[in-house]
């Protein structure tokens, strides 16, 4: 029986559950013995000119070995934005000098090295900083005016622009046109493990950097570049990583700083940030202001759709600057709309820089399209599920290109919707809703429906390729080296399953290694839901190739025809066909000569998972508080290798979507001060705010890889966010509410009801 498709429990877990995983701050590597602790001094002002950084008192504080300000940086050059088309004027200094400008709360001003961790906090407090405040630019609307320009050398806050305005007659043939400004708010990725890095230089002139990151190889290249080092001098290791969700893609400047500090001090250096440091220093996500316009006929046919995005990039533009292009690519979503328009403009603001967050550009496209469909349905008085069904792309097994230019691999959106509606008991839910409305209940029912398609395995800097190395050892065990970078996804288990499937070696005897640039110099990391379809496919390919190598070797040893040999799963080796147990084992095959394969798998194209979600909420119309009572989802990610782990990915994704839809938002005051910079302020979704989820199966294999697998890491978030938002709106729709921005907090819902009752259509 194939191991693929079975619920194999994780090989990672016994250690994780008994002595804990080993994260960067947990390392006891002897190279880090006697390490100093780095503590950064950060700006508490969002925008201003630095007039003083006085470290003299801090230098005298107990345990202080050194304090660095901008004057002490030698020839370190500011770090240019990570995208080549961006103006170099957006470069970020290592430490903002006197006379320079800070651009967000969290910008770096000084760094303290101390013998002990607590001494660092004490000494950092003693660095005297004075900043003349400038007006803060908060949000894209303020940025677009250019009344205050963050980077005078650039001359404008506009960072980039993609696409052109829609033609004036774009909606001319539509009976009904609805337009609305909506927000896809700024949120924190908030992995439980904050950022951390350690560095130690060897006598060979090489530096080993341990850091918590989603792709060691990419981070290695960046850090080497920033420090002006040959990449071969940088050995980057990602130990166990406590979650990433996109915010640990690419190196952070602090990581390179730790390596530089270790070189300066001549001693290893460790850095682990606090949560409040993390909530301003780590990349955040989403942060799009959108205008959606949808037009069509009263029979429910949508004829034209426009999505205009204003992207908040934060202070120093990073990868978030290009994510709107993914939003634009996916603008047409699951719909066969004849005309789709999308454009985006990106702005620098005095906030934390924006990067990828679970879905990274695609949730924003889906949320916009689904809001548009709901608004259109409400305008023409049609059931939202029916409007969607009327406009779906018809089922397809050959690639289909949308009006926004994406080429989907395979999909059956109507089937996904039908399945989820049936599992939810949609008709019964609507009947219950009608009863409550008729009775005028305080607790009203809301039903939100979403349909989605997303792109996974797109080129995120490593093409559509991933490599794998597979070696069978003389003791009969095997080792897989992978360029992916698991941080909770369970690759050690799933990659072992893929190798075991071909070799018959038990999963427990297969070790999977990742995240070490000396052992694995090339790799694309884990992001964009790419890992299984590229990295997993590479492991599969390596195992298939290894069997061929072994077959030739066994044929010689057994004096048999290679074609007569087959993998003998029960005997963990190769045997002559039809005579299991008589052949040669893997251990014997590897005894005298290394049995190893290194291979690269390249996918023909990205894949497009899809699905449909139903969210049910109960809203107290007197307080505005909405509670999610059910979440039913279809998430079709093609062939599933390990359902236990795939379900886990869906669960986590769904929960983060609920978090964004109902609770979470990074807020600034008018001066750019973060209002949500601890977990006491930021409403991170907890167990009490969620129901258990109802998952419905559906699997449409992709032809893009031999596994038939599409990505599953981000799909749950993409589907659940608009479903929950829609459910909240639906729960108060009978009171005249058409829209509530995310997060749909009690206050927002309550206000929307009040405004609707005052007669203005919300």
């Amino acid at each position: 029986m194939s191991i693929l498709g079975t619920r194999v429990v994780r090989t990672e877990d016994p250690l994780f559950l008994t002595r804990g995983a080993v994260y960067t701050d947990d390392l006891t590597d002897p190279r880090l013995a006697g390490a100093l602790h780095a503590t950064f001094v950060r700006s508490t002002v969002a925008h201003g000119t630095v007039t003083e950084v006085d470290a003299s008192a801090a230098r005298e504080a107990p345990g202080v070995v050194a304090v660095y300000t901008a004057e002490d940086l030698g020839d370190l050059q500011p770090v240019p934005p990570p995208l080549p088309f961006l103006d170099a004027g957006f470069s970020r200094p290592w430490l903002v000098p006197v006379g320079g400008r800070v651009h967000f709360v969290g910008d770096l001003l000084a760094v303290v090295l101390t013998e002990e961790r607590y001494q660092g906090e004490d000494a950092a407090e003693m660095v005297v900083v004075d900043i003349d405040p400038l007006p803060a630019v908060v949000g894209t609307a303020a940025a677009a005016t250019d009344e205050t320009v963050l980077f005078p050398a650039v001359g404008t806050n506009k960072v980039a622009a993609f696409g052109e305005p829609a033609p004036e007659d774009f909606f001319a043939d539509c009976e009904v046109v609805v337009t609305r400004a909506i927000a896809n708010q700024r949120v924190a990725a908030a992995p439980l493990e904050t950022r951390a890095a350690s560095a130690a230089w060897g006598e060979d002139g090489r530096v080993t950097i341990w850091c918590t990151n989603q792709g060691a190889q990419q981070a290695q290249g960046q850090i080497a570049g920033w420090l002006g080092l040959d990449p071969t001098l940088v050995h980057l290791v990602t130990p166990d990583v406590g979650g990433g969700f996109g915010a640990k893609i690419g190196a952070d400047q602090e990581y390179a700083f730790v390596a530089w500090l270790a070189q300066q001090a001549g001693r290893p250096v460790r850095w682990t940030e606090s949560r409040s440091e993390n909530m301003t220093g780590m990349l955040q996500g989403r942060a799009q202001d959108q205008v959606i316009t949808i037009g069509g006929d009263r029979d429910g046919t949508v004829k034209a759709y426009s999505l205009v995005v204003n992207q908040d990039c934060g202070a120093y533009p990073r990868i978030g600057t290009v994510l709107p292009t993914l939003t634009m690519l996916m603008a047409a979503a699951v719909y066969d709309i004849p005309k789709v328009h999308a454009q985006a403009t990106c702005y620098a603001t005095n906030g934390t820089s924006i990067g990828a967050y679970r879905g990274a550009g695609r949730p924003e496209a889906t949320a916009a399209a689904e809001r548009a469909m709901d608004l259109f349905a409400a305008e023409i008085g049609m059931d939202p599920a029916d409007v969607r069904r009327k406009n779906f792309i018809a089922p397809f097994t050959e690639p289909f290109t949308t009006a926004s230019g994406a080429t989907y691999d395979s999909g059956d959106y109507a089937a996904a919707l039908d399945r989820v509606l049936e599992a939810a008991g949609y008709a019964d839910l609507r009947a219950e809703q009608a009863r409550r409305r008729e009775r005028g209940d305080v607790r009203q029912l809301g039903i939100g429906v979403s349909a989605y398609v997303e792109i996974t395995g797109a080129d995120s800097g490593h093409g559509t390729s991933e490599n794998a190395q597979l070696e069978v050892h003389p003791d009969g065990t095997a080792t897989v080296l992978t360029g992916t970078s698991p941080h909770g996804q369970g690759h050690a288990t799933t990659w072992a399953m893929l190798a075991s499937e071909q070799l018959g070696i038990p999963v427990e005897k297969i070790t999977v290694l990742h995240g070490d640039t000396d052992r694995i110099p090339d790799g694309g990391g884990t992001m964009g839901s790419r890992s299984l379809q590229q990295g997993g496919a590479a492991v599969h390919q390596a195992a298939v190739e290894l069997v061929e190598v072994a077959r030739k070797r066994a044929a010689e040893l057994l004096e048999a025809n290679p074609d007569d040999l087959e993998v003998d799963l029960a005997n963990a080796g190769l045997s002559v066909k039809g005579t299991p147990g008589t052949g040669i084992t893997w251990a014997q095959l590897a005894a005298d000569e290394q049995l190893i394969v290194q291979t690269t798998f390249t996918a023909a194209a990205p894949t497009f998972p899809f699905g449909a979600h139903v969210a049910v909420v109960e809203t107290d119309v007197e307080s505005g508080k909405a509670v999610v009572t059910r979440l039913i989802t279809v998430d079709d990610a093609g062939t599933i290798i390990n359902p236990l782990l795939a379900e886990g990915q869906r669960h986590g994704g769904i929960a983060q979507g609920v978090g964004q839809a109902l609770l979470e938002e990074i807020l600034y005051d008018d001066d750019g001060n973060p209002q949500t910079s601890t977990f006491a302020d930021y409403p991170f979704v907890s167990a009490t705010e969620l129901p258990s989820f109802e998952l419905v199966e559906m699997a449409t294999p992709t032809p893009m890889n031999p596994l038939g697998a599409k990505g599953i890491g981000e799909a749950g978030t993409i589907g659940s966010t608009p479903a929950v938002q829609s459910a909240v709106v639906d729960s108060v729709a009978h009171l005249g509410v058409r829209h509530v921005d995310m997060p749909a907090t009690s206050m927002r819902v309550w206000r929307a009801i009040r405004e609707a009752q005052k007669g203005s259509t919300n």
């Binding site: 016994p14 008994t18 080993v22 406590g242 886990g648 669960h651 006491a680 009490t688 969620l690």
Partner: protein
Amino acid sequence: MQVSMTVNGQQRTDEVEPRTLLAHHLRDNLGLTATNIGCDSTSCGACTVIVDGLTVKSCTVLALQAEGAEVTTLEGLAGPDGELHPVQAAFRAEHGLQCGFCTSGMVMAAVGVLADNPNPTDREVREGLEGNLCRCTGYHNIVRAVLTAAESGPAAGRVPTSKQEVSA
């Protein structure tokens, strides 16, 4: 100052700064790094351990406050022969962990929840774990793991090295 406590059944006496948090003492002085620190506002619960039978967030307790106490961390939960505690076993069986960062605190908190309520409902587990945050699992499989552990009986609410009853 000197502080003495029993940690996972072993008597420990160490020199600490008076302000040392129990979480840092466990991690930095005793090398028990399963206990993680995920926030600085007593919000996330990643540092949850059991002190004298009560689940506590060790980032909010001074090491000195645990003077003479009996402390159990994740490392002390499995049996002497390495047999997983029912809650540990259930977390594995139900895929109740992904990145693992919340896991130590979540498992210890779950032991406390089951000590107080050996047969909880889905909702009661959620209320009981409200002070423990997880970003990976959406809590679904954590809740299932706790419910599964409850099926193994009163052992799910006990710690092997503790003579005292556990409570959340």
